[in-house]
Every structure is written in C-alpha cells, then in structure tokens.
C-alpha cells in the first residue's frame, strides 16, 4: 500500500496546480522512500530513467522550422484559405482532420502530424478562422476551438493507430500474450481495433458538429 503515496502526491500536486516538474520529483521521492529505497538511490534511479528517456524530448527540434514558417505568415495564409471557403466551419474542418489523422495512423503514419507540426501552425488557425466566420469569438470560445483542435488530434491518433498491426501497443499485446502461452496474430488484434475506431469517429465527429451548432448559434444571437 505504502508506495501508492506517490500517486497521491501527483493527484494532489496537479489538483492544487503546483509546478508539475516539482510535483513529479516529489512523487518519485515519496514512492521510492516508501518502498524502502534511500534518497540518493531514488535520485539515481530517477536520473538514470530521465537520461534514458531523452528521445521523448527530441520532438522539439521541429520548433525552429515551425517558427520560421509562422514568422513568414503561414498561419495567416492558412486562415485566408479557410475564409475563401464558404462551406468551411470549425467543426467540419476538424471532422476532416479527424478522419485524415485516423486513416493515416491506421497505416502506421503517426509522426507525420502532431501538436507542434500540424495543430499549432495549421489546424488550430484554420479552425479559428472558420469559427470567426461563424460569429464573433470571445477569448473563452477561441480557447475552446483551439483545445478542440488539439483534442481532435489526440482522438484521431489514439483510435487509429491500433488498426496498424506493427504499432507499439499491438506488439506489446502480442508479446504479453505470448509470455502467457497464448498465440495471437497481430492482424487479429488490429482487426478488432476497427469497431472502436469507427465508433470513435462517429462519437467525436458528432461532438464536433454539435460544437459547430453552438458556434453558429452565437451569430444568430448577436
């Protein structure tokens, strides 16, 4: 029971909005000490794992390219493209992005898009511009449009990637079942990810279109 104290530290620390980096270090210390490790042992284990996981932060090397493009007017160009399309609404743009992200993820193409590569420079500005067409945007609604753009990227990847049979999570399942004496083909697992993938498109797509109605209703009110 005692090592769970780290989870408690995380929940409390995040809920009270302390700086997450500090919260994480404290949580590691709490769980490690509770499990009977010495403070320096915990620190060494944490440092080792931090060093081994540097690849997680590699994605930031994309920022200079995105920054130069922003400086040169990419976001403005993306907005102009949307304004020219009469049928474009924030919800419809995001439904198209959801479908594209799910289909490409289902082919294993996960890193071709993402929050830094596509959402900030392209998807969010396009959704915002479309929402502006639908009615005046206050700051809170603008934030909602942006948050929905990021959320749509996540939903698309999560419920698309498992349809690809060589993705990490499928391989993890195959390996785990193999250790437990069950032989399952990766193809079988990825086939059974399809019903959920379809439902996710329907559910999130419907939410996006409902969100659209809310955005458009703002104009009729104003």
């Amino acid at each position: 029971m005692l090592p769970l104290i780290g989870v408690g530290v995380i929940v409390l620390g995040f809920a009270l909005r302390f700086n997450p980096l500090l919260v994480v270090v404290c949580a590691a210390m709490a769980s490690g000490l509770a499990a009977g490790l010495g403070p320096l042992e915990v620190l060494a284990a944490f440092g080792k794992a931090f060093n081994q996981n540097r690849y997680v932060s590699i994605v930031w090397v994309i920022l200079p390219a995105i920054g130069v493009l922003e400086r040169s007017g990419l976001q403005e160009r993306a907005r102009t493209a949307v304004r020219a399309m009469k049928a474009a609404t924030a919800g419809r743009i995001l439904v198209v992005y959801l479908l594209a992200r799910q289909l490409t993820a289902a082919l294993g193409l996960i890193s071709i898009a993402g929050h830094a590569q596509t959402v900030r420079p392209l998807v969010a500005p396009m959704a915002e511009a479309a929402a502006e067409n639908q009615g005046d945007l206050d700051d809170a609604t603008r934030d909602k449009v942006k948050a929905m753009s990021a959320g749509t990227d996540n939903v698309g990847v999560f419920f698309g990637e498992d349809v690809f049979m060589a993705i990490g999570s499928i391989l993890l399942i195959v390996g785990f079942l193999d250790q437990n004496g069950l032989v399952v083909e990766p193809l079988h697992l990825s086939v059974w990810a399809i019903p959920t993938a379809i439902c996710a498109f329907l559910v999130h797509g419907a939410r996006l279109l409902l969100f659209d109605r809310k955005l458009s209703r703002r104009r009729t009110k104003a």
Partner: protein, 317 residues
C-alpha cells in the same frame, strides 16, 4: 551507424543556442533563469551519458527547482508584426505550405528508406531509430528551406525556435520527467499494488461485471500512471486473462485489443499524459492548463462505455 546519439547532439546544440540567446535577451527580466534552464537541458543532451545516474538526478532536481520557483520568463525575440505576416502570406501564397508539407514527406520517406539502406552490409541509420533520425533531418531541412525561400534573417530559425520554446516553457520537459517517474514507480512496485487492489474488489461472478471491471480498471490505472502500456500487463494479468478470457471464455484478441483501447480513454483524461494533454495547451497558449483534457473528456467517457459494450458483444460469440 547514425542513430540517437547524433540526434541528441543536434538537440543539445539547439538548446545551447536557445540558452545563449536567452542570456542576451534584455527584454526578458528573467533571462538568466531561461538561460540556465535551457542550458542544463542542453548539457543533458550533449553529456548526459557521462554524468552518471546520480549526476543526472541532481540535474533533474536543478531543472525542477528552476521551474518550480518561477525563474522562467518568456523571451521576446524580434519577430514580424501581424501586418507584415499578412503581407507575406499574400506575397508567398501557397509556397508557404511547401516546407510544412515537406516535413511529413521526409519523415515518411526516411522511415522507410533508412530501414532498407545498407553500406557494406551494415545499416547506415539505426533501423530502430529511423523515425526520429528522419524527424531531425526533416526539421533541419524545413528550417533552412523556409529561411531561404522566404528571405528571413539567418538567425530566424533559432530565434523563432526559442520564442516558441519559451511559450511552452517547463511543460517541454514534463513528458520526459513523467517517463522517468514511471520507471521509479515500477521500481517501487506501484503498479503491482494497484493491480492487487483492483483484483481484490472485482466481483467475479458475472460476465458483465468482469468486462466492466477490466475496461474500467484499464482506464483508471492509465489515468494514474499516465500510460496505457504500464496498465496493460498488470490489468490483463490480474483480470483479463484469468477472468474475462479464462473463466468466461472471451476471445483473447478481442479482449486485449479493446482492453488496450479502454486504456487509451484514460490517456485522454490524465494530465500525466503530458505530451498529449498539457504540452498542446502550452503550445496553443490556452489560459487553462487542463483545457485540452476538458475538450476530450466527453469523447473519452463515451468511448469507454462503448468499449465495454463492444467487448461484451464481440468477445463471447
């Protein structure tokens, strides 16, 4: 063989430049904090393997203290105004999309090509790291191409990169920190403890109850650990295999595939999945840190329920 070490050098050099530019940014009252933060991160990329485990531990604590005591500001590198951007958007037109689209093309081509590319029977690029190496190449090519194509100053890629990096701030480090936390949790036996508790409170007498317990367990465990991969072995060994598959005869492929996807519903709900949920909030400058989670929450909850139904219907045909 080209692999992660070279990519780390690239990232290290980039963060060194961010640190140096931060130090010289007099418009940022907290410039020394930014310089120290990105400088330490640069050291980690360049020399992390030589610091030893404990040295890296102290480095992480220093980074956390800098962030936790509010030493990070937001740098103000000179950039273009809204009008200038609108004018360039008009002038450059569709050309602006070219470098942006080149990034996925290079990542894609590189990922496939590097796996096949050999020289004297040896891989030129580590096939396991083909995607990350391709991403790094794409980043460099796109930055240089954009700078040339749109006639921006030579310092623009690094200064603009620093501008965006400062906007993300400490959140940039959070995914890596949480991955490290996962390792410490594993060492302390946190996963096992949670698995034992779930198993103890799971009712085992009906098919529906075990399906609900397994899917819900996957989601809740993922919320607490930030990662469905950590939840899957524990929950499946505890409930999935012995009960859903063993006792009630569920099809392993259906149970495991949908079980994993139930975990993903948890990923959509947890701040611990920082790279998906908190980093974009910083990147998009949202005023509420948890706005992305809130936007996803209804989808996540509905999908969890749907996964339960799907497993119940499809696993016992």
């Amino acid at each position: 063989m080209i692999g992660l070490p070279l990519v780390y050098v690239l990232a290290g050099l980039m963060f060194t430049a961010f640190a140096a530019m931060s130090a010289g940014d007099k418009a940022n009252p907290k410039r020394w904090g930014n310089a120290a933060f990105w400088g330490l991160f640069a050291l980690s990329f360049l020399f992390g393997d030589r610091f030893g485990d404990l040295g890296n531990g102290f480095l992480v604590v220093a980074l956390a203290l800098l962030a936790g005591t509010g030493r990070l500001g937001v740098g103000q590198p000179a950039t273009t105004t809204g009008e200038e951007r609108a004018e360039m958007a008009q002038r450059f037109g569709l050309k602006l999309f070219l470098p942006a689209l080149l990034i996925p093309v290079i990542v894609l081509a590189g990922t496939f090509a590097f796996k096949a590319l050999t020289w004297n029977g040896q891989h030129v690029v580590d096939p396991k790291q083909a995607t990350l190496v391709s991403l790094a190449i794409a980043a460099v090519v796109a930055a240089i191409l954009a700078q040339r194509l749109f006639k921006q100053p030579a310092s623009a890629p690094l200064q603009e990169g620093r501008r965006l990096m400062d906007l993300v701030g400490w959140a940039a480090l959070l995914p890596q920190m949480l991955a490290a936390l996962g390792a410490v949790f594993a060492l302390a036996g946190v996963g096992q403890t949670i698995g034992d508790i779930t198993l103890a409170i799971t009712p085992i007498d009906s098919r529906l109850a075990v399906v609900v317990a397994y899917c819900l367990g996957m989601a809740i465990f993922t919320v607490m650990m930030g990662n469905a991969f950590a939840a899957f072995p524990v929950m499946t060994a505890g409930i999935g295999l012995p009960l859903v598959i063993g006792r009630f005869g569920g099809d392993p492929a259906v149970v495991c595939a949908i079980g994993m996807l139930s975990g993903f519903c948890g990923t959509l709900l947890t701040p611990l999945a920082a790279n998906f949920n908190l980093v974009p909030a910083a990147l998009l400058q949202l005023s509420n840190r948890y706005a992305v989670i809130q936007a996803q929450a209804p989808t996540a909850v509905l999908m969890l329920l749907i996964n339960m139904v799907l497993m119940y219907v499809l696993a016992f045909r």
